[in-house]
């Protein structure tokens, strides 16, 4: 978590490179008082996390990083121009949204599909405030819906995994069996089977995003049964998957065990001594999307009522290439190839199990 704030600060000088910049750049030091006169100075933006919190190593964190980046770029101070509220349980969403409304924030994000209903209600109640939801669609004129084509990214890591595996057996660990995680699953399986229709993909759900023990246990079984690459889309449960892989790697560095991370580049999580078990990660750039929408809102171009689906073509969904040793050029090639097929529309990636079945049958 400390690392991310470093990143933000080093970037801040060079970071803002487009349209609105001149003012902010020149007055960045004493900018706050000076900025009052400018058209965007009283713009403020905030987000409500779901129960994960802003350092969940996942999309909440990513969203917050996007917001911080946006704030830094525009010379805002945390707590004034931009802020977040963490939810501890589902009942907190609505009050948290309202708290931010009452504090006068102009644009408020709800991070995660779980906030769907509450965003919808609060947006109806406060037509003058702008809202945005991540990972779901709310049809209200003052709500911008941000979704991601996770299935596309998952497809690509599926391709990478199929290329990498030596056993032709790979695994998928999901958090809670639900429509969102099913997207990851469907994309992953489709990608792998596209490369090698005979590949075995074992899918298992832990029943929760906070069950590292179960994650470790499932991973242990998978690796035991000859699976050498596991893609996890399971939040905190994935920690257990990483730990099992690292454990195996630690006692036998020659062992072929890999994890594919999710949401952010999870390279760091895979470090064990001099080795790293993170093969790649399916990156979902919530930060880009969040900053993007904030930018538009600030400029008076808030995409209210629209659904913006970020995907491969926006680079908002991508595949990490950090582990250069494992992620070989050959794999890179193949992934690029499939990426082009997807962006060009040649391949339609399935989003759920039914679509997957059709897709696999057509291979």
């Amino acid at each position: 978590a400390c690392g991310s704030s470093d990143d933000a600060s080093t970037d801040s000088d060079s970071g803002s490179d487009n349209e609105d910049t001149e003012e902010t750049d020149t007055s960045s030091d004493d900018g706050s008082s000076e900025g009052t006169s400018s058209n965007n100075s009283d713009f403020s933006v905030a987000m409500v996390t779901d129960v994960g919190g802003v350092d969940d190593k996942s999309f909440n964190q990513s969203a917050w990083e996007g917001l911080k980046q946006f704030g830094d770029d525009n010379g805002y101070e945390e707590g004034k121009g931009y802020t977040y509220l963490q939810s501890n349980e589902a009942t907190d969403y609505a009050p948290n949204l309202n708290r931010l409304v009452q504090q006068g924030y102009n644009l408020i994000y709800g991070i995660g599909y779980k906030l769907h209903d509450d965003i919808e209600n609060v947006a109806k109640q406060n037509p003058d405030t702008h809202f945005s939801i991540v990972d779901d669609v709310v049809e209200q004129p003052n709500v911008a819906s941000i979704t991601f084509k996770e299935h596309q990214g998952s497809f690509l890591v599926g391709v990478a995994a199929a290329k990498k595996t030596q056993t032709d057996k790979i695994g998928f660990v999901g958090g809670v069996d639900g429509f969102l995680i099913n997207k990851f699953e469907a994309g992953f399986v489709a990608g792998a089977k596209s490369v090698n229709p005979d590949i075995e993909v074992e899918v298992q759900y832990a029943g929760g995003f906070d069950q590292p023990a179960k994650g470790k246990s499932i991973a242990s079984n998978m690796y035991n049964s000859g699976i050498d690459i596991i893609y996890h889309a399971s939040g905190g449960t994935g920690v257990g998957v990483f730990n099992q892989a690292k454990d195996i790697k630690q006692s036998n560095p020659d062992e072929n065990v890999w994890v594919i991370g999710v949401d952010r580049d999870q390279y760091e999580e895979g470090q064990v001594g001099d080795n790293n078990v993170t093969f790649t990660s399916m990156i979902k750039r919530v930060d880009i999307a969040v900053a993007d929408v904030a930018e538009q809102a600030m400029n008076g171009e808030f995409p209210g009522g629209e659904q913006i689906a970020y995907g491969l073509s926006d680079d908002a969904v991508s595949v990490a290439e950090t582990n250069e040793e494992a992620y070989t050029d050959e794999i890179k090639e193949a992934v690029k190839e499939w990426k082009d097929k997807i962006t060009s529309g040649e391949v339609e990636v399935p989003q759920d199990r039914d679509e997957l079945e059709t897709y696999v049958n057509n291979l």
Partner: protein
Amino acid sequence: MLRDQRFINVLIPIISVILGLLAGAIIMLSFGYNPVEGYGALYEGAFGNSYFMGETFVKVTPLILSGIAVAFAFRTGLFNIGVEGQVFVGWLASVWVGISFESPMIIHLPLAILSAGVAGALWGFVPGFLKAKFGVHEVIVSIMMNYIALYTCNAIIRNVLTDRLDSTDRVADTASLSSQMFYNWTGSRLHWGAIIALALAFVMWFILEKTTKGYELRSVGFNQNASNYAGMNVNRNIVYSFLISGSFAGIAGAMQGLGTYGNMFVQSSFTNIGFDGIAVALLGGNTALGSVFGAFLFGTLKNGAGSMPLVANIPKELVDIIVALIIFFVASGYIIRWALTRFKREGK
């Protein structure tokens, strides 16, 4: 002297709350926060305007019910640590009934609530029955039943109530507890459940203190041998106790399903309504009225805490610490009582 005692009994929780808040202030000070700002934010967040007041009640409502569920069992000598799971199944049952059909509200709503109660009772029946029949410790079975409820409800939402979706439809208006009137007043999710909760707290008090069944249950709670000697069926009373406790818990679930949310969704972990109910019951000395106050305190602190990071930049975990300290102080009533009597004697 009796009057004195009663006065002290009321005084102890008040002093405990004050001590807890004081301790919280000291912690804030020592970590460089401003307690006045902190508590100001907490107050604003809980009662600052009609919206927050409404939301505070929304938090309090299920806690009253989970609190009396725990308290009821405790009073009859049983530890129902399974309220959490009973809340889940109650929630599910109420939503199930709520979305499955439409009928006049006068039938639909009570039916939905009732089914929540029945579901909770059934869930409570398992530990109760196993305790009565085989002497299996209710705590283990209750804990296991919690997990079973969590996973089963999720599966039913995904596979039975929806076609692999994460949340159910909204319950029909005829089964909904939500209130346009409250909404217009407060803009919050405040719903009629608050009244149901209070009414059921009264029911719990009435059952325990005024009915023959309550007499039996309390008697069994205190002394099983004597109860048996007096002709009461101890095992049956254990089961009854779990049934009643479970139905309160189930209805706590209905508050969420028919009121706060109007639907049910897949959850990746416990709601804590049941576990918090333990604290609520114990804060309230396992009485109905006490549980109401306990729930109120708890809900207020929890809801108000949400504003602390935003307004005063104080981590809201601090409130958990304060809650814990208040529970300690209430529990340690003996020492407060001792100090009070000491103080009084010295004063004379």
